[in-house]
């Protein structure tokens, strides 16, 4: 799970913050509440998760509980990978 979070944090730092690590949100911080991602940003994040972790995010899974913080993403991706036959 820490590895998942680390990869997502690195992607976040490179792609959304252009290396400004002082703006990196804490693991539990909501990306929405802290105005870090808009709807296009979430689409980018989903694409990254699907490609990086070889998974598919379903329509019904496009919810803040899965995607709106590093903690949420790590738990969501871990569950998806566990349930995947690969």
């Amino acid at each position: 799970m820490n590895d998942i979070k680390g990869q997502v944090r690195q992607y976040f730092l490179d792609n959304f913050l252009f290396g400004a690590s002082d703006r990196m949100p804490a693991d539990s911080h909501s990306f929405m509440e802290h105005q870090l991602l808009d709807s296009t940003g979430f689409l980018e994040l989903v694409l990254f998760l699907e490609e990086q972790f070889d998974m598919k995010v379903g329509d019904e899974e496009m919810i803040p509980e899965h995607l709106d913080s590093f903690d949420a993403i790590a738990a969501f991706v871990a569950r998806k990978c566990e349930s995947s036959p690969t």
Binding site: S39, T40, F42
Partner: protein, 355 residues
């Protein structure tokens, strides 16, 4: 103001009007005169132009703007443009012509499809659609719809295509296809604006922007497309009020009865399907509720949705307002250059994050 409006305590303890369509009532004669004076003053003392160009879509907003301009300046100083393209509904141009003739203004129709074709608008859009639906061809129809947000999820976009037999497919768009379809489609608003400025330049006129308050507040426009203008006479008016002003100005019944659409995609697409959470009359009330400090439960009772849905609508309005804020701005600068001039840029340090 309406004599029917009732007062009730707001959550902040102030007395505000009950949340129903009466809140939008105003003396439309007075408002028309106020806008007319503002148009004349803006043209003469700020813009230094001799009249206005209005692109007429056949919808209520551009029709009301054209009529207000005629009230302010007379028909000889207003020039109408009908700018259809391949996906425009035929009824749009017909309504536009009817309006221009009703107002007695000069106008012309300029089909922008050849320009869009030359720029690759349709080709780029169709190429992105075929990456999602390989069988799609130019004989099919398509549109984009928003999903997720009102159910409490994260907003995303769906592509709906229809083959020549009428059979529809509905698929979620991934990032690159979504961006390319929107980027290609935005050519339409930007080419229209280019044509509008050609006529404005040749006539020494100003270009009128036609957003209503909901569109302006929520960023429902294309930057450097329909968002670009020299004056925006109805940006302070809720769409409900624009309809009322259009009725007050006795615009043709076909214009008053027109259903708001984007008129941008080949399949019929309501504005609420593409961008707004609810039909315009309810969105107007939601925006009013937010602006006047009404609570979600008051909004819910007013428009017949649950309190949780009402809260999501209010959150969505605030989110769109925030995320589209930069659409209104001039280009960012490293430091102020024209210190004495008022600009609206918003660059500011991001909110501090606690560790």
């Amino acid at each position: 103001m309406s004599g029917n409006s009732q007062c009730s305590p707001s959550p902040k303890g102030h007395h505000t009007k009950a949340l129903n369509a009466d809140v939008f009532t105003m003396d439309y004669g007075v408002e028309v005169e106020r806008i007319s004076q503002w148009i004349r003053r803006t043209l003469s003392s700020t813009l230094h132009k001799r009249g206005v160009v209005v692109a007429i879509s056949g919808g209520i907003d551009s029709s009301a703007c054209a009529a207000l301009a005629v009230k302010a300046l007379g028909p000889k100083k207003v020039y109408g443009l009908l700018l259809p393209e391949r996906d425009s509904q035929g009824t749009s141009s017909a309504r536009g012509k009817q309006l221009a003739e009703h107002l007695g203004i000069g106008y012309e129709q300029h089909d922008i499809a050849p320009a869009l074709e030359a720029l690759g608008c349709y080709r780029q859009r169709d190429e992105a659609i075929r990456r999602v639906v390989p069988a799609y061809s130019e004989h099919w129809k398509s549109k984009i719809a928003i999903a997720g947000g009102l159910e409490g999820g994260i907003s995303y976009f769906r592509l709906i295509v229809q083959d020549p037999d009428g059979k529809q497919q509905d698929v979620r768009l991934s990032l690159s296809e979504y961006l390319q379809i929107v980027a290609a489609t935005n050519y339409k608003q930007r080419v229209r604006k280019t044509v509008e400025y050609f006529h404005a330049d040749r006539l020494n006129y100003a270009v009128t922007g036609t957003p209503n308050r909901l569109e302006y507040d929520q960023g429902f426009f294309v930057r450097n497309g329909d968002g670009s203008a020299d004056l925006k006479p109805i940006a302070h008016l809720y769409k409900t009020q624009v309809y009322a002003i259009a009725r007050h100005l006795k615009l043709p019944e076909s214009v008053l009865a027109a259903v708001p659409t984007t008129d941008t995609y080949s399949l019929p697409q309501g504005q609420d399907e593409f961008y707004f959470a609810l039909p315009y009359a309810q969105m107007d009330l939601a925006l009013w509720a937010l602006n006047q400090g009404h609570s979600a439960d008051e909004l819910a009772a007013s428009i017949g949705i649950t309190e949780a849905q009402a809260q999501r609508v209010l959150d969505d309005i605030q989110n769109k307002r925030r995320t589209t804020r930069t659409l209104h701005c001039v280009a960012e600068l490293v430091e102020p250059v024209l210190h004495h001039m008022d600009t609206i840029n918003v660059t500011a340090p991001p909110p501090a994050l606690s560790p």
